[in-house]
């Protein structure tokens, strides 16, 4: 093979220019959407005002990180079917999100994972645990993303010295902070939508070109790839990446478990489900995400073999950035410098969009869970909480960028898969148990979250990923006791087991009423859009907010979020949107008084009871107090056609 090819590919100035155009367009959108002024619901959840398709695009933009886009194309080009296995695992995983998470989360939570869990579990300890796991997982992923940017910088901007790379990473980090601070979740969402659109469109065009040059025949493309590949036909067979013995197979299984079970527990993915108003929209967003991500992964298969056929694995591996350079080099081959500039812009936009999503997730967990609910015990005003959220964004962004600069050049690629594994070990068990298992307790949640996290981090520390081999992060020392580079095979079962053990051994009796509450909320969506009379919770205050970039879209985006400024921000504090025809209720001066212990009065109607229905009544006195409300619903036909009509949620009027 010829000596290493010159790393300078394309024209750095052009690359930066295309990226700058992208940044500018997104900035205009972000500025337009952020004009309404930030409230908690807009800063954390985009005002719950996005539609399913929009959120589906944003989900795919959030999910398709540089590792998945550049990494899979390169892995297929170099390792064939084994490289594509990661895409299969990461894609199949979305079914879990569709079946068990998206709608149920939308129905029970408002801003963070802790909001969901504390519907049934003890407020303070569980909220602390959920916030810890969210912040730890998000920051791990943030570090991995930013540290991985170094190689991209070298490849795309021809900056090879560490100082220059540090400046570029710092710029990306700084840009991200600016976007998040200006636009909050709304801006982040539009950033992700823009990036996903650009990514999918470019991927489709490149795929069309690659297939076109091979007579629209996948077979001919595969043959061409095999002919160019040094391993020949092996690139069409399994075994190039995971060829070894039992240990390699176990490692693959471990990675796959983390990948399949992790997606549905990733905090920044969970956070996205709050940006839609209803469970139906949440379902629609995952459905859109599945079609888009699946379609894109199919494109990466073609692009990977296309890169092998048109660029050649040797050239890919010799370029700075290694396997990650497959897609940029293919773009250079296809579209010349403009093509490369486009893919470079996408690569940076990808990093930007993903780290923005991660930062806002971590900031929300800190401001909403740790500050507002744990430190201030729910007494912080929304303005104070937003101020803290912005500062947390700044601090997390700066720390993450600094960490990324320090970690640049370190071999920390394992952090990406570790993030998925941690989410699968700590978040998913807790979430599933909370929603489906009657016997789950707060102790179980703590065991499963802290335990799952500790087992994951502990095992990776003593694994070959960190020490003991030349490819490790710390090749100099050897504390590798655990044989696998990914702890999923042990830590995921451990997370589930700990949750079960904690519930059984914790000496805590499961709260049946709380389980009923979370089940009914999760499965039916009651209380999301309208208040549930008799629900012992705070009503939403007055006020609605507009946050639409394109004003005419009133029918779907003019979703008020009157509950923005409730004291604690839990979903149980009131619905997220109200009907237009119902005037925003005035805030009652007091909580409804609790019923008598063991009392049988089914509904409390404070306004009617006190005769003050005009001023203090939030819950409309639908039934006279003392009437047998309990039997009233039975009078309705349960399955009549009237009930089959789609629920006119706040997003659809």
């Amino acid at each position: 093979m010829t000596p290493v090819l010159p790393p300078a590919v394309g024209d750095p100035v052009l690359n930066v220019a295309v990226f700058a155009v992208f940044l500018l367009v997104v900035l205009v959108v972000v500025l337009r959407v952020s004009r309404s002024g930030a409230t908690r619901s807009s800063y954390y959840a985009g005002g719950h005002g996005f539609t399913g398709p929009e959120n589906g695009l944003a989900l795919s933009g959030d999910f398709l990180s540089a590792a998945t886009f550049l990494g899979i194309v390169g892995a297929v080009a170099v390792s064939g079917p084994d490289g594509f296995g990661y895409a299969v695992a990461a894609f199949v995983a979305w079914l879990l999100a569709l079946f068990f998470v998206a709608e149920l989360i939308r129905n029970t939570g408002r801003y963070t994972l802790a909001d969901v869990l504390t519907v049934r579990l003890r407020e303070r300890p569980v909220r602390a645990a959920a916030a810890t796991s969210t912040v730890v997982i998000s920051i791990m992923y943030l570090l991995a993303q930013l540290a991985g940017a170094g190689g991209l910088v070298a490849l795309l901007l021809d900056v090879t010295d560490p100082a220059g790379q540090a400046v570029v990473i710092a710029c990306v980090g700084g840009l991200m902070i600016v976007y998040v601070l200006i636009g909050g979740m709304t801006g982040t969402t539009w950033l992700q939508i823009a990036k996903a659109t650009l990514l999918l469109a470019t991927g489709a065009v490149m795929t069309a070109y690659v297939l076109g040059t091979h007579g629209l025949s996948l077979t001919r493309l595969l043959d061409a790839a095999a002919a160019r590949h040094p391993a020949g036909d092996a690139v069409l067979r399994p075994g190039l990446l995971y060829g070894g013995g039992l240990l390699a197979q176990a490692d693959l299984l471990s990675l796959a478990i983390g990948g399949v079970l992790g997606v549905a527990g990733l905090p920044h993915i969970l956070m996205r489900f709050y940006t839609v108003p209803t469970a139906r929209q949440a379902r629609s967003s995952v459905t859109w995400a599945i079609w888009l991500i699946g379609g894109f992964f199919l494109l990466t298969l073609v692009l990977g073999y296309g890169a092998a056929a048109l660029v050649g694995p040797e050239r890919i591996l010799a370029a700075p950035g290694g396997v990650n350079s497959a897609a940029p080099l293919l773009a250079l081959e296809i579209g010349g410098e403009v093509g490369l500039a486009l893919v470079s812009a996408i690569a940076f936009a990808t990093i930007l969009a993903v780290v923005a999503g991660l930062t806002i997730t971590a900031a929300a967990a800190f401001a909403h869970d740790v500050y507002a609910n744990l430190i201030r015990r729910g007494r912080a005003t929304a303005a104070e909480e937003i101020r803290v959220a912005r500062r947390a964004t700044l601090v997390i962004g700066v720390l993450g960028t600094a960490g990324g600069v320090l970690a640049n050049g370190q071999n920390i690629a394992f952090l990406v898969s570790l993030t998925f594994t941690a989410a699968a070990s700590a978040n998913l068990p807790t979430l599933l148990y909370s929603l489906f298992w009657r016997g789950f307790t707060s102790t179980g949640a703590l065991w499963s979250m802290y335990g799952g996290l500790a087992v994951t981090v502990g095992l990776i520390t003593v694994s070959p990923a960190v020490s003991g081999t030349p490819e490790s992060m710390l090749p100099g020392i050897d504390i590798a006791v655990f044989p696998l580079t990914n702890p999923g095979l042990v830590s995921v079962p451990a997370g589930f087991l700990l949750g079960w053990l904690g519930s059984k051994l914790g000496g805590e009796r499961p709260d049946a009423a709380a389980f009923a509450r979370i089940s009914v909320r999760a499965f039916s969506g009651a209380g999301v859009a309208r208040p549930v009379p008799g629900d012992p919770s705070l009503p939403p205050p007055e006020g609605r907010h507009r946050r639409t970039p394109w004003r005419p879209a009133r029918d779907r985006r003019d979703v008020g979020s009157p509950a923005d400024d409730t004291d604690t921000g839990r979903i149980s504090d009131g619905p997220i949107g109200l009907d237009d025809d119902r005037p925003a209720p005035s805030r009652p001066s007091a909580y409804p008084a609790p019923g008598p212990a063991g009392g049988t009065l089914p509904r409390r109607v404070p306004g009617a009871a006190t005769g003050a229905s005009g001023t203090g009544a939030f819950f409309r006195p639908a039934t006279p107090v003392g009437a047998a409300v309990r039997d009233e619903p039975r009078e309705r036909p349960a399955y009549g056609p009237r009930d089959a009509r789609p629920h006119p949620g706040p997003g659809r009027r």
């Binding site: 069409l236 067979r237 459905t287 089940s519 969506g525 399955y639 789609p646």
Partner: protein, 125 residues
């Protein structure tokens, strides 16, 4: 409660500021016991649990075949290696399950959820 025995006037101040305790017969427990909710939960689980078991087994089969039957997977059927056909099969099954779930949820879950929700929110039909 105030509507029952005592005079239905105002709440005593201590009870106003006291944390809200959940009465034993609260609306959520009642709703959870209704036949509609029980049916809703059962219908959801009846779809998602078998579907999850199915797709996880199918995915494990893909992994297992990848690990232990590399020779079989290397055979090319119609120009494409079996291993890629299997991977594409994973994609096809995921798309199919997504479509099936959407159909099922719209037809069998949403109407029932609307019944439970409307009853709780006490909206006039």
């Amino acid at each position: 409660m105030t509507g029952r025995g005592g005079s239905p006037t105002t709440y005593p101040p201590d009870r106003v500021t006291a944390p809200v305790r959940r009465p034993r017969g609260d609306v959520w427990c009642e709703a959870a016991a209704t036949p509609e909710f029980v049916a809703l939960r059962r219908r959801l689980l009846r779809f998602v649990v078998p579907a999850t078991v199915l797709f996880l087994l199918w995915f494990c089969l893909y992994l297992g075949l990848n690990a232990w039957t590399k020779d079989v997977l290397s055979v090319r059927v119609g120009g494409l290696p079996v291993v890629l056909l299997l991977a594409l099969g994973q994609f096809a099954s995921t798309f199919a399950l997504t479509a099936a779930y959407n159909r099922y949820a719209t037809r069998r879950l949403d109407p029932l959820a609307a019944v439970v929700r409307d009853r709780l929110e006490e909206r006039a039909p």
